[in-house]
């Protein structure tokens, strides 16, 4: 028996090492896929080792459950559209959180009711922490999922006294936690903690609007790791603590990157309600912006005579599912000898790296996608900057207008290009709810319409020109 336990511990050690190596490789494009496989192997080793545990006796139920879970997981992973990646990550994240809650609750129940043993203080505290973080992750992720999917209003939902209510709920949850630790056999306190934490998760994500989702998803990702770590403390299991910490760190780093890209603090994002301020300051002088429209044919002619084009995709491209026609446009232009690059703003889309995944799906090689800092100086030497479904991330007000809510946010300097073509459905403001003064610039032309339909027409025109 002793040897078996030792074997399990060694397997966990090997698994931890493989997880660390896997996540390291996941950070480099050349090795990322192998890194992911390596971490899957690590997971497999950990699972097999756990099956050797002497407490694990009911293999039939375990195997059936694993089989069902794997089947559903595989089907979802195969079928999900790349445009829906943020929803899927949010949902799976929620499952991770829920699983932490259930494991901790199971251990709590076993100790409080079945083992007839008194619960040590440390276990009580860690169980409560695990339940709270896991439950916040679960309900918060579900709200994020609902917002991304459009089931719940994607805009920031605010009401008076929101922050006071959240603070009160948090304090009550802490009080209930103390009661759980002091009276581990009264499960009503545990249920209270669970309910309050679920409510807190919902209320903290509700006031955060669509374009802030990259921050929220990163943060919830981090929480799911922290929840796993906390569960590791409950079970005295190092592999959970280590891997949970890795995920927690990765989520926090992504959160920081996203906040920096929006020039906002995490607190500011979490307080929510961004872009809800209406009225005076938003109009930026109150002048009506006069825009110049451009048609499909004329755009095609502009593209034909251009020698360099930078395409700036945004969430609108994802919504219109336009990534494939954009690839066609890029291919067509490249065949004519035009240089084509893609400029990616860190917060474009609804999750970190969202645009990169969509363009990769459309078969655009990743070395054509250039980060903001590297491409910003190139706009001045570029004939056409084509903006597809992006708005706030190209608003020059962020550089020039100290009164603007987005002032100071790093943007793509598309206005420096010789000609800017903006492909957009309507004149509606972007997420920040402000006018984009770029649209009134002399070098800016508006190409109104659905991104997919419009770009398809432009490509058609270009093909005709080639044959004529």
């Amino acid at each position: 028996m002793m040897e078996k336990d030792l074997l399990i511990k060694i397997a966990y050690l090997v698994s931890s090492v493989l997880f660390i190596m896997g996540i390291k490789m996941l950070g480099k494009t050349a090795t990322a896929r192998r890194g992911n496989t390596l971490s899957a192997v690590a997971m497999f080793i950990a699972v097999v080792a756990t099956l050797l545990n002497s407490q694990v006796l009911s293999f039939t139920e375990i195997f059936v459950t694993i089989l069902i879970g794997s089947a559903i997981g595989l089907i979802v992973a195969r079928r999900v559209e790349m445009t829906s990646m943020p929803e899927m990550v949010a949902l799976f994240n929620g499952f991770g959180g829920a699983s932490s809650v259930l494991v901790a609750s199971s251990e709590y129940w076993r100790m409080a009711h079945e083992a007839n043993a008194s619960m040590p203080l440390v276990v009580g505290v860690t169980v409560v922490i695990s339940v709270i973080i896991g439950a916040v992750t679960f309900s918060g992720s579900l709200v994020a999922f609902g917002k991304l999917k459009g089931i719940i209003n994607g805009r920031a939902i605010m009401f008076t006294g929101q922050h006071a209510l959240n603070a009160a709920l948090f304090v009550t949850a802490l009080a209930a936690s103390v009661l759980v630790v002091l009276n581990p056999n009264t499960e009503v306190w545990m249920l209270a903690v669970l309910g309050l934490a679920l409510l807190l998760g919902i209320l903290t994500v509700i006031p955060i609007g669509g374009a802030d989702m990259p921050v929220v998803i990163s943060l919830l990702n981090s929480y799911s790791g922290i929840a796993a770590s906390a569960t590791g403390f409950v079970l005295n299991n190092q592999v959970l603590i280590i891997t949970g910490a890795l995920v927690g760190a990765s989520g926090i780093i992504l959160t920081q990157i996203m906040c920096k890209a929006m020039n906002r603090s995490l607190v500011n994002v979490l307080l929510g309600g961004f872009g809800q301020t209406k009225g005076t300051a938003a109009a930026g002088g109150g002048e009506e912006i006069v825009v110049k429209e451009v048609g499909v044919e004329e755009s095609a002619m502009l593209f034909e005579s251009a020698s360099s084009v930078i395409i700036v995709p945004g969430y609108g491209m994802a919504v219109a599912q336009a990534q494939h026609v954009v690839r066609e446009l890029a291919d067509n232009l490249e065949k004519r000898g035009t240089s084509v690059k893609f400029a990616i703003h860190p917060v474009a889309g609804r999750m970190p790296g969202h645009m990169n995944v969509l363009l990769a799906e459309a078969n655009i090689p990743y070395d054509k996608l250039i980060e903001m800092d590297q491409i910003n100086d190139e706009f001045a030497n570029t004939d056409i900057a084509l903006i597809i479904g992006a708005n706030d991330v190209v608003n020059p007000a962020a550089r020039t207008n100290p009164g603007s809510p987005i002032f100071g946010m790093p943007i793509l300097n598309v206005d420096k290009a010789r000609t800017v073509i903006v492909c957009k459905r309507s004149m509606n403001a972007g997420y920040a709810g402000i006018e984009n003064e770029l649209f009134g610039h002399d070098n800016c032309l508006m190409l109104f319409g659905d991104a997919k339909a419009t770009i398809t027409k432009v490509v058609g025109e270009l093909k005709e020109m080639a044959t004529a």
Binding site: S39, T65, I72, F92
Partner: protein
């Protein structure tokens, strides 16, 4: 669990967090989504705890909770790794 074990576990937590910050701080933006979905799959490591919780032969509340945890954790793990692999397969350099 005694205080000494707790301290050891805290050491593990702190050191692993530092390793995590070191490893992930320089990830290129191209990989942000796969990193997120991949690390999401990794957070399904609670599957280990779920298996133990679902382990006893006799049916009990804690076993039912364990089985529910196992189902969700498996979904998280398998779905997460599969979708990350699908994404990473698409990332190609210029031929």
């Amino acid at each position: 669990m005694n205080a000494e074990t707790l301290i050891v576990l805290l050491y593990v937590l702190v050191l692993a967090s530092f390793v995590g910050f070191e490893l992930i701080s320089k990830v290129p933006p191209t990989l942000h989504t796969p990193l997120m979905s991949g690390s999401n799959a990794i957070s399904g490591i609670t599957i280990v705890g779920a298996i133990v919780a679902a382990g006893p032969v006799d049916l009990s509340v804690s076993k039912v909770l364990g089985i529910a945890a196992l189902l969700l954790a498996t979904l998280n793990v398998v779905g997460g790794y599969a979708v990350t692999d699908r994404m990473l397969k698409m990332f190609k350099k210029k031929k």
